[in-house]
Structure formats: C-alpha cells, structure tokens
Amino acid sequence: MALRFEILGRFNRARAAQLTLPHFVCQTPLFMPVGTQGTIKGLTTSQLEEIVSYLRYHASPECNHRFLVSLLHLADITEKGVTFQSPVDGKPMLLTPEESIQIQNRIGADIIMALDDVVKTTITGPRIEEAMYRTLRWIDRCIAAHKRPHEQNLFGIVQGGLDPVLRDICVKGLVDRDLPGYAIGGLAGGEDKDSFWRVVAQCTAALPEDKPRYVMGVGYPLDIVVCSALGADMYDCVYPTRTARFGTALVPEGVLKLKHQAMAHDTRPIDQTCECMVCKNYARAYIHCLVTKDAMGSQLLSYHNLFYMMKLSRDLHSSIIEARFPEYVYTLHVVFPEGDVPQWVCNAMEVAGIDISSCCSPFPSS
C-alpha cells in the first residue's frame, strides 16, 4: 500500500479525509479533473496546478497528475482480456489484466486501476453475473502482475450492475483481497437515479471505513453531493469539460447556456461568486461571442467548470469537517432547485441521515 487515508471529519455516512499519495496530497471529497487520455481537455498542467493550488491542495513539484489511466472504446471482452480499438491507429488490440497493470506500472501513476469487465447498467440477465465474476478472477491476475505495490496503489473495481446480491458478492470478494482503495464501477451509464444511489449506498456501507472509495464516471454536481453524503470520496467525470464544449457553464444555480441570445449583451461574469481567472476577467457577452465558433470559448469555459468542481469538492470537505454539512447542502441550489427536490435525492438523503424532509414533498412528484 502506498497511500495514507486519514479521516478528519464525519457527518453520519459522509466523511472528509486527507489522502496522501506518493506524489500528491489531497483532501476528499475530491473531484479529479483527469481525462481518459492522461490529460485534461485543453488545459495545461500549470493551469491545473493553478486551479488546484488556489484551492489549497498541495501538489508536490514532481506530481504528474496522472492518477488514472482508463481505456476507451472497449470492444470485445473474453476471459483472456479486453480487445479495444487503439487510440493511436484504430487497430484492434488485446489488453490482458497483466498487460494493463504493466502499462500502468510503466506510466507510474499514484493510483492504478484493475482491469474490469464492464457492462452497461441498462443490460440485464446472466451477462451481469458473468462480468462480476470475471472482474473478481481478473483482480487476482492484476494483483499478481503488479510490480510496484509500494509506489502505486491498485484499486479494485466493484461490478455487479444494479443487482444487490451481485454487488454484495463483488464487494466481499474485493475486500478479502485487502486493496489500498476501491472503486464503484459500472454506474453513470444511463440507469435511473434511484437505482444509481442505491448501488452507491450499498457499496459504501460494505466497503472498509479506512480506505478511499471512488465512484467512477460521476458526475454531475448533484450526484457528487449525494454520493458524498452516502460516504463516497472520489469522483472523475468528463462532464465539466464536455459540457463546456457545448457552451455550458456550471454555476451555483445549475447551468448557464452561454450560446443563448440573451448572453450577447450580458456584461456580468459567468458567476459573480466565482473567483476563477475567467470570471475575474470576462463578461458573459464576450464568452458568448466565442463559444462554438472559436477554440478559446470552450477553453475558457472548461477552465471555469473545473474550477467550479474543485470548489465544490473543497466546500464539501470543509463543511463536513466543520460539522455543518447539512447546512451547506441546504445552500446548494443544485440540491434544492426552485420547484420540488427530486424524489431520489430525498430518498438518498434520508438514507444518508441528512434531514431534508421539510424540503421534500410528501408525495412523489410524478
């Protein structure tokens, strides 16, 4: 194990911790702005450091920020491994669990991920069970192949679709292997929100207290708040940068569509409360005239959106430590929009022990 995970504060199931990695110290809950290609859409390392250091994370100089490597374009999965399309030349390549670990050992990231058999959550039937058991068989091959356990942390990935029995078997199997951290995989793939949070709640309840829990592919600011309330610690998602490319900014009220005609003469910053480089310098009107026409539009919006996510992470952390987590959650417009709070949020928060009943309608609103 090459990490230290110190829980600094709790609110019921939610926790705020300090995670010490070989090249990086960070506070959780943490949104990791890391893309699938070892880079963040359109941002340089120094810009990331700028965003990160503003938020008082302490990056060591040699930090390469490549926490994770995941692979795109999964094509075909057999017991041998995953055949996927090479991102370089598009040719099919077989990746075995052993090779995936070798590659990650070479790259040297602080956290490396086991190779898992991923199935869409919307698929049902025996394929889900097959994938879960294969993930368990592969974790042993990954552990055996891992050459740098004292420098790199191998995270196992919980699979099992939306089936509580399968998830339970998978969590137990992985916990038996005593890994440095655990990821909850196979979510954020189009399943309904009520199923989504129930899987997260089940897994976080069953995973060891003293290890980091990482929900893969999540997500939206609201999802991060709910998962953190349920005891998850880490997230990664392309949403903030992807949505930036379509001209959308994340703001405390939800989202702001910069393409909208009304933005053309709006002289306010994207978010008056945001202290990022973009909000300090640019009016909505200027960003409006850039978005979708010029590369710079999505660059500036990505910058703001990542800053927003890092700020959300930091605020979650400090509100848990300062024992005002529910109060902080109340102030979040994404949790409490003008209208009704979504029923799934009410349900999840009830399980998380955050009393928001006064804000939830007594009957499910459609």
Partner: protein
C-alpha cells in the same frame, strides 16, 4: 505613441523603439495575430509565460466582432483592454488579417471595403469602421483600405489608391479615440501607384503607416522594389507596419526595406499543421549530414510533430529552448496529444512557436544593431534554401 529609430544597418534594416500603451517595444517587432483579441489557442493566463515585453503587441481585426456581441456592449465593457482583461497589452487594429478577415476586392465599391469573414461577406464603410474603433479603443489602428491583389488592372489599382486616401480622410475626421492612427498605403504591384499613395498619406496627420496589399499574389522578386518605393517616400521618424508577410524570408525582406512591425499569421499556420519551429537562434541552419532527417518530417527549420517518428521521442521540441512547452513537455507527449485530438497539442505548439518567432525577431534586431543585418539575412536565407531544396530532393 512615440517612436524613434536607434540604429541603421548598412544595406537595409532599422532598429527602433516604440513607446505605446505604457510599454517600450523594440522594433522590428512581431504583433501576435489574435482571434477576437485573444491568441488562437493560448489562454490569457498563459500569455505571461511568453517573453516580455516582446509579446505585448496583439493584433486583431475589428471585423471579428461582427457577430455575437454588439459594439454597444463592447463599449459598456470599456473597450478591448477591459473586455479581455489584458490591460497591460497593446492592441493594434487592422481591418484585415490573413486568416478569417480577408480582403475581397471584387465586392468593394466606392462606399466601402469588402471582406470575407466567418459571418459571410461584409461591406464595411469608413463610418462603420470608426464606430468599431471607438467602441474597441485600440492603442493603435490602421485606416480602412481597399486592398487589391497583384493582378488587377491599372484602372482598378488606381481606384483603390483613390478610395484608400479618401477613406483615410474620413477615418481621421470622425476619429474620437486617443489611439495612434496608422495610415494605410496600397497601390498593388505598381511602383508609381505605391509612391502616389505613400506621398498622399504622408501629407495627412498620421502617427504611422500600415502597408497593405502584400501577400496577395505578387511574386517575392517584385517585392523589394515596391517596398523600397514606399519606404523611401515615408518620413523616418514614424513606424511602418505591414500585413501579409509571413515567412522568415518575407519578414527579412520587409526589414531590409525598413518595415518595423509584422504579424504572426505564420505561427497560426504552422501550429495548425503540427509544425514546430526549430531553426537555431543564430539563424544558421546547420547542414545535416544524416540523410534520414531530410524527409518530409523536417526541412531543417521546422519539424512535424504529427509524424510517427516522434511517438517515442522523449526530448523537448528544441534542446535549450526556454519556452513553457520545452521546459515541461516532450515531443512524444505532443505527438500523443495530436493522435488523440487534444487541443492541448495546439496550445503547446503555439506557445513554442510564438516564443521561437519572437526570438527570431530579437536576433534580427541584434544583427541590425551590430550592423550585420545584411550578412545575417544572406546566411539565413541561403541555409534555409539549401535545406528546403535538399528536403524536396529527398522527398
């Protein structure tokens, strides 16, 4: 704005200092070509990683803002410096650029100049242009010109000079900004028309000159005579800007004729193509003895980072380069970024290329001050020609 010439090099080339917007900029200087006031790819926070004050000059076309934002809003935001959060930078407005606001002579008429832009073809009248200038408040701006390519008839060329001089008067009359006026000079490929235009513009109250109508189909060989005819008609104590000269050889042509300010369209084109400038700062391209380098990947002055030979190359673009990109990243990484279509590739390349081209201008200035510009130019052009020739043979 203030300008003074500090040194002349025998056989052409002058070095000067331009005081503008609170900076002292040494000339010959490169104006960074922008899109809507910001570099094509480099985000504003990374601008500070470029050499200072060399990188303070930003060139834009007011026509970039024809869509998406109104002049009223730009005014409300306080002009370009405020709107872009670049209060320490110097903005230079030129109606055209060589990328997205291109002169379109066939649709120009006596009322105004015509441009091909992403918002379609636009006919811009002097009054409209001046509204743009007064809401954007650049530090310096060139007057509206009717730029024509080299092949137009004598009659059309004469008309372009007449219009450009008339529009100059209209622009000056309706000028309400404090920005320095650069009078546009046209005249196509005719020496007499170039002279006539220059002599007319000199009579007006302008702070500098903007030489237009180059890079529009004239041959490189006919340029020196045209450029010299213009600059010989101009007073020494005012700066001369030019549009449409891109390549190092073209810049050297302009410098030799006494031009002071150039644009960076070349960097944009290089960056889009995946090319990184690699010529040594002394400008002398060493003849490579190894034939394998002389393929389409390099011509001795630049390399193509999209090429597969850089997939595993863990060295920086240019050994010893002080730019952000070379200090932090390898060729293999940039090659990877191109492969996965990450825009970071262009950002890192634009940083390196801008840094490198600014360095080229610094070397040019030093050569002028030492009085060795002519030798420098000759060596540079010859060694590059040999290389390009060798590359062409090897291909």
């Amino acid at each position: 704005m203030k300008f003074s010439v500090k040194a002349w090099s025998k056989g052409g080339g002058r070095a000067g200092v331009m005081q503008v917007g609170g900076c002292a900029i040494e000339t010959p200087a490169l104006l960074l070509t922008t899109r809507k006031g910001l570099p094509n790819f480099i985000t504003p926070d990374l601008l500070s990683s470029l050499p200072d004050p060399d990188s303070r000059l930003l060139q834009f076309s007011p026509l970039h803002f024809s869509e998406g934002i109104s002049l009223k809003t730009i005014s409300e935001l306080g002009g370009l410096h405020q709107m872009l959060g670049l209060k320490e930078h110097v903005f230079a407005a030129v109606p055209r650029d060589s990328i997205i606001s291109l002169p379109e002579y066939q649709s120009a008429n006596k009322m105004g100049a015509s441009f091909e832009t992403p918002c379609g073809r636009l006919l811009i009248k002097p009054a409209q242009y001046m509204e743009m200038i007064s809401s954007m408040k650049p530090n310096m701006w060139a007057t509206l010109a009717d730029e024509v390519p080299a092949w137009v008839s004598e009659k059309r060329n004469r008309a372009s000079v007449d219009r450009t001089v008339r529009w100059l008067d209209e622009c000056i009359t309706s000028n309400v900004t404090g920005g320095a006026v650069f009078g546009s000079i046209v005249g196509g490929s005719r020496i007499e028309e170039r002279k006539r235009c220059a002599q007319e513009v000199v009579k007006r109250n302008v702070s500098g000159f903007c030489i237009g109508g180059f890079g529009l189909g004239e041959s490189m060989d006919e340029r020196p005579a045209l450029l010299n005819a213009i600059t010989e008609s101009l007073p020494e104590e005012k700066p001369r800007q030019i549009c449409g000269l891109e390549l190092p050889e073209e810049v050297l042509q302009g410098v030799a004729a006494g031009v002071d300010l150039f644009d960076s369209t070349y960097i944009y084109h290089l960056t889009l193509g995946g090319f990184a400038l690699t010529f040594p700062s002394d400008g002398i391209v060493k003849c490579c003895s190894c034939d394998e380098l002389c393929d389409d990947v390099t011509d001795g002055t630049k390399i193509n980072l999209k090429a597969t030979i850089y997939r595993k190359d863990t060295s920086p673009i240019l050994e010893g380069c002080k730019c952000y990109t070379c200090q932090n990243h390898t060729k293999a990484y940039i090659n990877h970024l191109f492969n996965v279509h990450e825009m970071l590739a262009q950002i890192l390349l634009e940083i390196h290329n801008t840094h490198h081209y600014l360095g080229f201008f610094r070397v040019v200035r030093e050569a002028i001050k030492r009085g060795t510009f002519q030798e420098f130019r000759q060596n540079f052009v010859e060694s590059r020609r040999d290389h390009i020739f060798a590359a062409a043979l090897g291909a």
